[in-house]
């Protein structure tokens, strides 16, 4: 009897939503596309050494349906191609339902489905030039080859936002499975044919404090577990049959803005426990790194920015003395200088130009470091034109 009453109440609620939706619903969407050109001198990242690479594009299309002020459905598909380094097929980037409960000064929300992982300043919106600080994100924190592990979750996200006077505090707590693509396995082990990666769950939490627009501090933590299974072919080639990984990531983020100046800095420490039961191996290297970026708004539509980005794959071996052949010593670290400029041609068009001076190769996957043409130092030049079109009704 109680069950019948409960179903009846749910039916009434859904009916009320459907009836009221046409008058208060709001639907909006954005289409985003970007075309880039890359030239590499001394490396193979995105463009082969000494060559111009134009097979470099990004695409995203999203829709956001606010059924009522409290209920929302949202989805996005993306596709990316970064030369011959990354080739991502069209993927569902997020697709979720969200309930938001207003508070006197803030709100609480629950999100279920596939959602972006709110990690650091840029992870949740990293695939649009309009919402990241440069063409390439700082690789010490937002590495391309590990992107699947950080990008999104299939599960539940709880979020709170509270504000008072000139301050605000927001937090997130989430649990879900990670959607590992073949690209991840390819980047990590050089082959998606010999190995398969499976998620074993990921927990994430963030706390973000803001004082006026001047100061923002954020701490992000995630614990990600995944397992890699070798195929019989991998065993025949001397590979492993099974491995498990547990990744703890601690990230501290700072942002300060004063008139036309902006300072951004992030620092990450990441122990990765790796177990290979077949060989009785258990190791836990700790990588760390971070960056500091300064931005200046020269004119309303024109910005200049520069960044110093540092990364070490093992904090006990910062110079790579313990790195085993065929990998070179410089695969243990990456030290990058970057200078760039962006021009907002109109509200919907943006052109950016960057120079990256990379010393070391610690942020590249191993299979790429051993390729011909990869030198200890390299220069990467990037030009990207981005366009977006938004609609709402």
């Amino acid at each position: 009897m109680q069950t019948a009453m409960s179903i009846s109440r749910w039916y009434q609620l859904v009916l009320a939503l459907v009836i009221s939706a046409p008058s208060i619903a709001k639907v909006s969407g954005t289409f985003y596309a970007a075309q880039g050109v890359a030239y590499n001198d001394g490396g193979n990242f995105i463009a082969q050494d000494g060559q111009l690479e134009a097979n470099y594009f990004e695409f995203a299309a999203n829709a956001n349906w606010r059924l009522t002020p409290r209920w929302r459905l949202a989805g996005q598909v993306t596709r990316r191609q970064l030369g011959d380094f990354i080739s991502e097929d069209t993927a569902v980037d997020y697709l979720f339902g969200r309930y938001q409960h207003p508070l006197q000064q803030g709100h609480l929300s629950a999100t279920i489905g596939r959602f972006k992982n709110d990690f650091g300043w840029y992870n949740a919106s990293r695939d649009s030039l309009f919402s990241r600080p440069s063409i390439l994100l700082p690789s010490s924190i937002y590495r391309e080859w590990g992107r699947d592990a950080a990008l999104r979750r299939d599960g539940l996200l709880l979020n709170g936002l509270h504000y008072w006077e000139q301050q605000s505090l927001s937090w997130t707590l989430s649990y879900g499975e990670v959607d590992f693509s073949d690209q991840f396995t390819q980047s990590l082990f050089g082959s998606s044919r010999l190995y398969q990666t499976q998620s074993r769950g990921a927990t994430s939490a963030t706390v973000h404090w803001q004082y006026r627009p001047w100061w923002q501090l954020k701490y992000s933590y995630s614990h990600t577990r995944f397992q890699v299974q070798g195929t019989p072919e991998a065993l025949l080639n001397g590979g492993f049959s099974e491995a498990s990984f547990e990744v703890d990531t601690h990230l501290l983020s700072l942002r300060s803005e004063w008139q036309r100046w902006q300072l951004i800095a992030e620092w990450q420490r990441q122990p990765i426990e790796q177990r290979f039961p077949q060989f009785g191996i258990r190791v836990t290297p700790v990588s760390d790194g971070g960056y500091i970026q300064l931005r200046y708004l020269v004119r309303d539509q024109w910005q200049l920015y520069g960044r110093r980005d540092l990364f070490w794959s093992n904090d006990n071996d910062r110079n790579g003395q313990q790195v085993a052949a065929p990998l070179p010593n410089y695969s243990a670290y990456a030290r990058t200088w970057m200078l760039g400029s962006s021009w907002q041609i109109t509200d919907d068009w943006q052109l950016s130009l960057e120079w990256h001076r990379l010393e070391g190769a610690g942020t590249l996957p191993e299979w790429q470091i051993v390729q011909l043409g990869q030198a200890p130092t390299s220069n990467l030049y990037l030009l990207q034109l981005a366009y977006r079109w938004s609609w709402a009704r």
Partner: protein
């Protein structure tokens, strides 16, 4: 009587429209904040207004959803509003909105194509908030809130 009322309404509308056309050309004065329900925004501080325009605050105290209305980022009046009323530069607001849009956690504000359109949207939309040049007399429309 009906003609008189219509004539008075038409005269008022022309006056407002003329004011709007004028303010599109000149935005050197102050900016005033307007709302569909003035009592909801009468006591807003700069910090609260900033929370609304950066989409942190999404509800009025009575639970109604806030509809944020803006002009295009390149519009001189929008730049003036950001600097005078929010203490921000337009690109800082854009970045907040883009972050919401591309993470799926929110939608961008409603963009008005002109000051007249801004006035129309705020008049017609429950819970809406927007802004006008200070020299437009919107008091008759029961929209005005002056900082």
């Amino acid at each position: 009587m009906i003609f008189f009322s219509f004539h008075k309404h038409l005269k008022g509308s022309i006056g407002i429209l003329a004011g709007c056309l004028f303010c599109m050309a000149s935005v050197n004065g102050a900016v005033q904040v307007i709302g569909h329900n003035p009592t909801q925004i009468g006591a807003l501080s700069q910090a609260e207004l900033r929370a609304i325009y950066s989409m942190k605050r999404q509800y009025w105290p009575n639970g109604d959803a806030i509809t944020v209305v803006t002009l295009a980022s390149s519009n001189p009046l929008h730049k003036q509003f950001c600097q005078q009323q929010l203490g921000l530069l337009p690109f800082q607001l854009n970045r907040e909105w883009d972050r919401l849009v591309f993470s799926g956690t929110g939608e961008p504000p409603t963009e008005a194509v002109s000051v007249a359109d801004m006035l129309h949207i705020v008049q017609q939309t429950k819970g809406a908030i927007g802004y006008l040049p200070d020299h437009i007399d919107a008091a008759e429309l029961h929209l005005i809130v002056r900082f």
